[in-house]
């Protein structure tokens, strides 16, 4: 009883899934279904045609021993004509099913993309990259995978219905017996797909692990060699490879069993039909042609039945993929922190701002600071003192907990510590889709001291990244800087952006920014003395407190912690104090 209700529940979920998928492009799907119906009718028709040819043409020809050219040509013409119509049905069914499937995939992808674009960084940070990529890739493909075999499956059901009626009306007993085998075969197929797929999925998962482990092992080959661990590594990888092998062998073992059973059942049914048929023919209830057509009909339906099993076994995966996409779509869109910023006359003002994620996790309380235009502030502190979170809050990348932030306009540019570059041209990376002239791009690259771009094969049209030219960390940082300055922002925030540059270049870049963007407020997280030396004022972050903004000398005198940090900088770098 319980089993039955869960089956009907599953059925309801499946119909809901199909209905939601079909509503994206109902026209395309309908055309495909029409093709499928033509195919079904022609398939059943061809089995009737064959019966007619055997009974009325072939047997009569051999019984009477007269060759009728017109009857023969009719038979041949009907055979070829019917198969042409059937072929057209197949072409329409398959091509439109494919079209409906991939157009639906496109619509689903668009929906996922809309969510990805709308959600602000604080949402993105809570998601795993891999999961989100799975939504847009694997899940979309899995959702629509069920659409391709659907028209076919429907046509098979129609065929079975017609065939069942045909078989039963020709011979009730034999017909009922033959029809009873269909559901059994479908059940066997579904069971087969589910059981075997489980092992193929396991093998696929293990293969992914193997691939990751192999990549890591080859990547670390220097260490492997340095410690003579070649054999140990081979053994370790062999263990994972053997898990792939075991899952595959298990799948193959099951498959060989089911394949044999799926061949055996219809063949034995056919033989039984011959025996049963012999009795019916003797009693005069059945003609020989009818018997042959029975058997042909059966053969015709066996292969389609297999695909029904395939389509049905795809259902749970499609369902899961579609559900995950829907829950992504339904997740509430977070507020963009910038939309809560107010606008005033000063370039950047914090009014009793608290920064943190929730009540129990507040990094800074009630911070009120006004950054004036043209000021250059360096933010200094030990690792983990909250410098990045602070500057991200100023740029509206991380939401503030309470208080208010006011800016003069929307023009804040933020440069991340580890800049993200897109796999497109340098120009595209600097402009990020906005329109800037060549001169502006050149100017921005010049400010960022990114003169190396001129040496690239196609100048700033060179494609960078995986499929183009590889860049060093310092080069990437400079392109990210150009991206920020080209917008001539009123506030420019650098999160330890110049760390991969050598000290000389760093100083040049900062000077360029001062002279190239004279009206901008610059706030920079600093981990090197050279940058501290360039700043007008320093903010020192230490254990949840913010000291300053004030001058370097003032902090050196007043703050022990600051002094010891500066000493740590000095030792290896031979940092000269008098340079400040």
């Amino acid at each position: 009883m319980h089993d039955h209700s869960s089956t009907s529940g599953r059925f309801r979920r499946a119909t809901t899934l199909i209905r939601s998928l079909v509503t994206y492009h109902p026209g395309l799907f309908a055309i495909s279904m029409a093709g499928a119906m033509v195919f079904a009718v022609c398939t059943v028709g061809s089995s009737w045609l064959l019966r007619w040819i055997i009974d009325e043409v072939i047997i009569r020809r051999f019984d009477t021993n007269t060759f009728s050219i017109s009857q023969t040509l009719t038979a041949v013409g009907l055979l070829i004509g019917l198969s042409l119509i059937r072929a057209c049905g197949v072409i329409v069914r398959r091509s439109f099913a494919g079209r409906a499937q991939w157009r639906t995939a496109q619509s689903l992808t668009d929906e996922v993309v809309d969510v990805l674009v709308k959600q602000p960084p604080q949402w993105h940070r809570r998601q795993s990259t891999g999961e989100l990529l799975t939504r847009a890739g694997v899940d979309v493909e899995a959702s629509v995978a069920v659409m391709a075999p659907l028209p076919y499956a429907s046509s098979v059901i129609l065929m079975m219905a017609i065939a069942a009626v045909g078989l039963i009306s020709t011979d009730t007993a034999l017909g009922l017996a033959a029809t009873a085998v269909f559901p059994a075969l479908i059940g066997l197929n579904v069971l087969y797909q589910r059981r075997v797929d489980k092992w193929f999925d396991i093998a696929q998962g293990e293969l992914g692990l193997l691939s990751a482990a192999v990549h890591e092992s080859f990547e670390g080959v220097t260490v492997v060699k340095a410690f003579g661990a070649e054999n140990r590594e081979t053994e370790r990888l062999a263990i994972i490879a053997s898990r792939v092998q075991n899952a595959r062998v298990e799948a193959i073992r099951l498959r060989s069993l089911f394949e044999a059973a799926l061949d055996f059942v219809p063949n034995v049914t056919n033989i039984c039909l011959v025996v049963g048929g012999a009795f019916r023919v003797r009693s005069g209830d059945l003609s020989v042609g009818e018997l042959a057509s029975f058997i042909y009909m059966f053969t015709l339906l066996v292969f389609p039945l297999r695909l029904i099993g395939y389509a049905l076994s795809e259902m749970p995966r499609s369902q899961a993929g579609f559900d995950r996409i829907q829950s992504l779509r339904r997740s509430p869109i977070f507020d963009d922190p910038r939309s809560l910023f107010t606008h005033g006359s000063s370039s950047l003002v914090l009014d009793s701002v608290s920064i943190g994620y929730d009540d129990t996790n507040i990094l800074f309380r009630n911070v009120s600071i006004s950054f004036s235009a043209r000021s250059f502030t360096a933010i200094v502190g030990y690792t983990g003192s909250g410098k990045s979170t602070f500057v991200e809050s100023l740029a509206g990348i991380t939401p503030i907990f309470s208080g208010s932030v006011s800016t003069k306009d929307q023009l804040t540019s933020f440069v991340f510590q580890e800049p993200f570059l897109f796999g497109t041209s340098v120009r595209d990376n600097v402009c990020l889709g906005s329109n800037f002239s060549d001169e502006e791009v050149e100017w921005a690259l010049r400010i960022a001291e990114a003169d190396f771009v001129q040496g690239l094969p196609q100048g700033f049209d060179t494609i960078i990244g995986e499929r183009g030219v590889g860049l060093s960390g310092g080069q990437r940082q400079r392109i990210a800087l150009a991206r920020a300055v080209i917008r001539r922002p009123s506030v420019l925030i650098l999160d330890d952006t110049t760390s991969a540059l050598d000290p000389n270049t760093e100083v040049k870049v900062l000077r360029n920014i001062k002279s190239g963007l004279p009206g901008s407020t610059v706030i920079a997280v600093a981990s090197r003395p050279s940058l501290i030396g360039m700043a007008d004022q320093i903010m020192f972050f230490d254990q949840g407190s913010i000291y300053g903004p004030t001058t370097h000398v003032e902090l050196l005198i007043q703050n022990v912690s600051y002094r010891s940090l500066m000493q740590a900088y000095e030792e290896p770098q031979e940092f000269e104090d008098d340079s400040l």
Binding site: R94, V117, V214, F218, D263, V274, A292, Y296, P529, Q573
Partner: protein, 603 residues
């Protein structure tokens, strides 16, 4: 110069079987079973024909029917028994093929792991890593796919077609030839359609990769896109690539939609021809109604597997090229071979001696070695045990190569390096790795805990030994700052640690071995101030009582060393202490001058 010859399909297959002999094991018996299995599928049409001809004969006027039910039952019983046997044979054949091929492919994988780990570092550069990984994963997968689908189809369908063709020829050879003649062009048509289908699928695969790449950027670059309000623009780009993917897939399904009907139409033509010729000939040629009906069924059976078999031909091509790539990797000579007759180092002091050491890169296929392109030329030098040596030189001077030769990651092209009087290539590899440890430039950490990374070199080490190792190199204060201590996960390539911290772990790792000789390939990237202090301290501690050879990028390291070796274009041009060299005219004093000026410009 001849272009490298691409091995043909058969040659590749035979070389593949040679490389993995287990592939051939028991294949004869599997084939026999497959034939028996396939013959089962012919049973039904034959029984129908026999039943109609002998059991269900009808008198001429169609009134009286003589049906021999007993005969039909006897025939069917025999057929059923045969079907059982055939099913078991088929099942066994499929399962045997699968198991044998999977275990052979496992052997092949292990062979590849071993070989690739033994390749020299030159063959392990960043550009090639992806393809090395692909050899052991996706290329072996194409073989696995081939064996479990294509090979199987060859086995079952090939056997079926041969048997069906045989039965058809026995029934009526002229009708059989007619069917074969008509089906021949189908193979050509199918091949053409399939070629276009494969091209279309390639196109859609590329479009799919594009879509995923663009989506990945949208996700990983989300913060940047938000910071510059560029999300919408990039979202539109992803949608565009999603549309292109849809277009390409639609095209592929359209071509695929033509594939099945072409088989269908050929089938109808073949059956029509059989019907026409059969009716025309009539019983005069000995043909019976039952035979003609049986023949029609056989014709359908004969045509069924053709589409699948032609598909398999392409899969075969894929598998063969996969095998070719795998054989290509196996044919790359391995790096320095392990010592065959190792000599034990006695009580001699572990001095390192380089005697006329010269090194050339192995010429690529078809290249001839240029005698002027030596990376290192005739290096002669003795390093006494316990000396702190710095090797300096411009990029390309050969200092990294010298480090690799001393670490025996490569063998010199000519000349000899010995430790304690024993040539490097005669020292047992395990003994060598316990005596000499290399800390590479970018120390690699496995995506695991700190403890696991340390135990990589000393699998049996207890937690206490690992913690002591930190203390021994003065890093206990840093160790205490690690959130989970030894259990901290370092992330992929150690990404949870800074570059400097990764070097710290690498130093602790090296110290666990307690080697007599330490080779340090210094990092070029800069390290934050506090880590730099710790690194210097740990290195000082670690180098005590050992020979340390630093491949130095910073002249501050050279300044601290007992002895500096200066390389220039592969030649050892200067050798002495920092103080001696800095005063003497030459490469070193030039380098020092430019280094000094670049480090004093802060203002």
């Amino acid at each position: 110069m001849t272009t490298p010859r691409v091995a043909g399909t058969l040659e590749t297959l035979s070389r593949g079987v040679h490389a993995v002999p287990s592939l051939r094991q028991g294949i004869g018996f599997t084939l026999l079973l497959a034939m028996i299995g396939a013959s089962g599928r012919v049973v039904v049409p034959v029984v129908i024909q026999q039943a109609i001809d002998h059991g269900l004969q009808r008198s001429i006027r169609g009134s009286a029917q003589t049906v021999d039910v007993a005969l039909v039952v006897k025939m069917c019983l025999g057929a059923a028994i045969y079907l059982v046997i055939a099913s078991i044979a088929q099942r066994t054949a499929v399962s045997r093929l699968g198991q044998r091929s999977e275990s052979a492919l496992f052997d092949l994988r292990v062979k590849l792991f071993q070989h690739i780990h033994q390749l020299s570092l030159e063959d392990h550069n960043d550009e090639q890593r992806g393809s090395l990984v692909a050899r052991v994963t996706s290329d072996v997968e194409t073989l696995s796919q081939f064996f479990s689908w294509g090979g199987l189809a060859f086995l079952l369908n090939g056997a079926l077609m041969i048997i069906v063709a045989g039965v058809m020829l026995v029934y009526d050879w002229s009708l059989a030839l007619l069917v074969i003649l008509i089906s021949a062009p189908l193979v050509y048509v199918l091949r053409r359609v399939q070629a276009r289908l494969i091209a279309a699928y390639d196109g859609s695969r590329l479009a799919n990769a594009d879509l995923l790449g663009n989506t990945a950027e949208l996700v990983t670059g989300a913060e940047t896109l938000h910071a510059y309000s560029a999300g919408a623009i990039f979202g539109v780009r992803v949608k565009k690539s999603s549309k292109i993917r849809g277009d390409k897939q639609t095209k592929a399904t359209l071509i695929g939609a033509l594939l099945f009907p072409s088989g269908e139409i050929f089938g109808a033509i073949a059956v029509s021809a059989v019907v026409f010729v059969g009716l025309w000939r009539g019983s005069s040629s000995g043909l019976t109604a039952g035979a003609l009906v049986g023949f029609i069924f056989l014709t359908y059976r004969f045509l069924e597997p053709i589409a699948e078999l032609t598909e398999v031909l392409d899969q075969t091509q894929t598998a063969v090229s996969g095998m070719r790539r795998i054989l290509g990797i196996l044919s790359i000579p391995a790096g320095p071979p392990p010592a065959e007759f190792p000599i034990e180092i006695g009580d001699q002091p572990l001095d390192i001696k380089m005697n006329n050491v010269t090194f050339f890169y192995r010429p690529r296929d078809g290249e001839v070695r240029d005698e002027n392109s030596a990376v290192l030329s005739r290096i002669n030098c003795v390093i006494q045990f316990g000396t702190q040596v710095a090797v300096v030189g411009e990029t390309g001077s050969g200092k990294t190569t010298l480090g690799r030769l001393l670490s025996r990651f490569s063998d010199p092209t000519s000349g000899m390096i010995s430790i304690g009087g024993v040539p490097l290539n005669r020292i047992d590899n395990e003994a060598l790795r316990e005596m000499l440890v290399v800390v590479p430039q970018e120390p690699f950490l496995f995506s695991d805990t700190i403890a696991a990374n340390l135990r990589f070199v000393l699998p049996q080490a207890s937690d206490q030994i690992l913690i002591d190792a930190f203390t021994n190199v003065d890093l206990q204060d840093w160790f205490e700052t690690l959130p989970l201590g030894l259990d901290m996960l370092v992330g992929q390539r150690g990404s949870q640690l800074s570059a400097g911290e990764r070097q710290l772990v690498a130093l602790v790792r090296a110290s666990l071995i307690n080697p007599s000789i330490l080779i340090l390939d210094e990092a070029t990237s800069s390290v934050d101030a506090s880590t730099e202090v710790r690194l210097t301290r740990a290195l000082d501690k670690l180098s005590r009582g050992r020979t340390t050879i630093s491949i130095a990028h910073r002249l501050s390291t050279a300044a601290r060393a007992d002895r500096v070796l200066v390389l220039d274009s592969g030649l050892l041009v200067q050798d002495g202490s920092h103080d001696e060299l800095v005063g003497a005219p030459g490469v070193y004093s030039e380098m020092y001058k430019s280094w000094e000026s670049s480090h004093n410009t802060s203002d």
